[in-house]
Symmetry: C2
Subunit: 284 residues, 2 copies
């Protein structure tokens, strides 16, 4: 099986400027397709920006998946014969707002995922998704979707891997936390280990720039199923990264003759949760 080219377009959307952001997305999709990409990932909330100050402001930047922002992605996907995924502020039929991700190809909208783990002040305007992150059959392979903070709950990517995801696409706006000199942004390290613990490829598309005092990490990366980065973005500027990935390698969960990542799991032991610390198991 030949590799597919996975790309991340690390953009710098402008808060509330939906039309301008949509045009940036069009340009970004074309650029990545020209560079040979089969699958193009965009950041979280790329159509709306992130640092809202009120529900009204979030509402004004939100659209249904049938709106012009996601329609533009479908048009570009159709023109370039590629698959595109990215984040948008979703306005549901009942008026509820979600921090969502759409995945599209030349046939149209394949799936929408509503972020299930809302970070910090997102809770003030977005409702949490109630459906598990989906695994979507695409032209490049089986793609699982996650948004930003979702990745910090390892149960999410585990669930995607158990359901057959070969690539996990993470649309993200990672905060630029302080870190020791020479270290990668923490989000990239998180993604490396999430890939390795599940033997899936992971693509993370972050944003850059500062918005209302919030600074992002520019931590876009494409990571192989053993947890090593194949491509990493520059951390301080918009950037396009791409890497050929043999996604079929993610189907093999064996480490050695006797070691199998899924087969060695002991789910019967994982439900042990108590409110506080366990009693000391003092044996002598």
């Amino acid at each position: 099986m030949s590799p597919v080219v996975i790309a991340c377009q690390q953009l710098s959307p402008k808060i509330g400027a939906v039309e301008e952001n949509t045009q940036s997305c069009r340009k970004a999709i074309r650029e990545a397709a020209r560079a040979g990409a089969d699958y193009i990932l965009l950041p979280e909330l790329v159509t709306s920006g992130y640092a809202f100050e009120s529900t009204e402001e979030a509402l004004a930047a939100a659209q249904p998946p049938s709106g012009p922002a996601v329609r533009a992605w479908i048009e570009e996907a159709r023109a370039a014969q590629v698959t595109v995924a990215g984040g948008f502020a979703e306005l549901a039929d009942n008026g509820t707002l979600y921090n969502s991700m759409a995945i599209v190809d030349e046939t149209g909208l394949l799936a929408v995922y509503r972020k299930t783990h809302l970070w910090d002040r997102e809770k003030l305007w977005f409702a949490p998704g109630e459906a598990v992150p989906p695994v979507v059959e695409t032209a490049v392979g089986r793609v699982g979707l996650l948004i930003c903070y979702d990745l910090e709950f390892p149960e999410n990517i585990r669930s995607l891997a158990l359901r057959g995801a070969e690539l996990v696409a993470v649309a993200t706006n990672w905060l630029n936390y302080p870190r020791p000199q020479g270290e990668r942004p923490d989000g990239v390290i998180n993604a490396m280990v999430s890939a390795r613990f599940n033997r899936v490829f992971v693509a993370c598309c972050d944003r850059v720039g500062t918005e209302r005092g919030v600074e992002w990490s520019g931590g876009s990366a494409i990571i192989d199923e053993l947890g090593w980065p194949l491509a990493e973005a520059r951390h301080d500027v918009p950037d396009l990264i791409a890497a050929p990935c043999e996604l079929a390698r993610a189907r093999d969960k064996r480490w050695t003759q006797y070691a199998d990542m899924f087969g060695d799991s002991r789910p019967e032991l994982y439900g042990v949760v108590t409110e506080g610390p366990a009693e000391q198991s003092r044996v002598q």
Copy 2:
């Protein structure tokens, strides 16, 4: 609350040489205690070596927790007023062999943990443990125990953190897998993210050297609750590392005013497991 000094003694045990290894452990505990350690971690199977070729050989190197190897740790812990944990080949009363970890202090044996996730050929001589990894109340704080491959199943450290572990002590023999130049051993990166995803301190005590053609990574590290290494061992030689750790910081799981690592968890969504890939959720 004042910090406690956590230490890892990255040793190079000899296969089958239980008495000699026990003497090395005594010396290592004394050395670490002299250096100011309050809690001293030793590698997996430090009393027996690792690369057995038969059950008979493993059996010959195994002892009950009441045997001379763990007794020696208790004697040294008592003399130095420290807490000690490490791995040993355990011979159970019924003759079953386990890849186990003991934690001891001046009062004696606090707990034994039998590795629940056996790696590769370990399955040929060891039985898997049937009890969840324990959280043990010690003089330095609440310590959770894991052995090597256990860490690659993120459900284990999650379970320890939910039960109140402040420090997770990992006794390990990490294989020295090939890695891109400049990268840490994968086990260290795994431990960094495991710490951050649970906001617990993690100490990993690896071994070094080559044994019957098997090479270890020398990836001992002490990692803070945000996932950054406080101390890392040299990868090719026995080494003592130590770091002061304010373990109480692990009790706070809040990232921000509105973000709480445990509070933001959605366990009702994590049970979704199917045998194969899910049906495509095609919405258009």
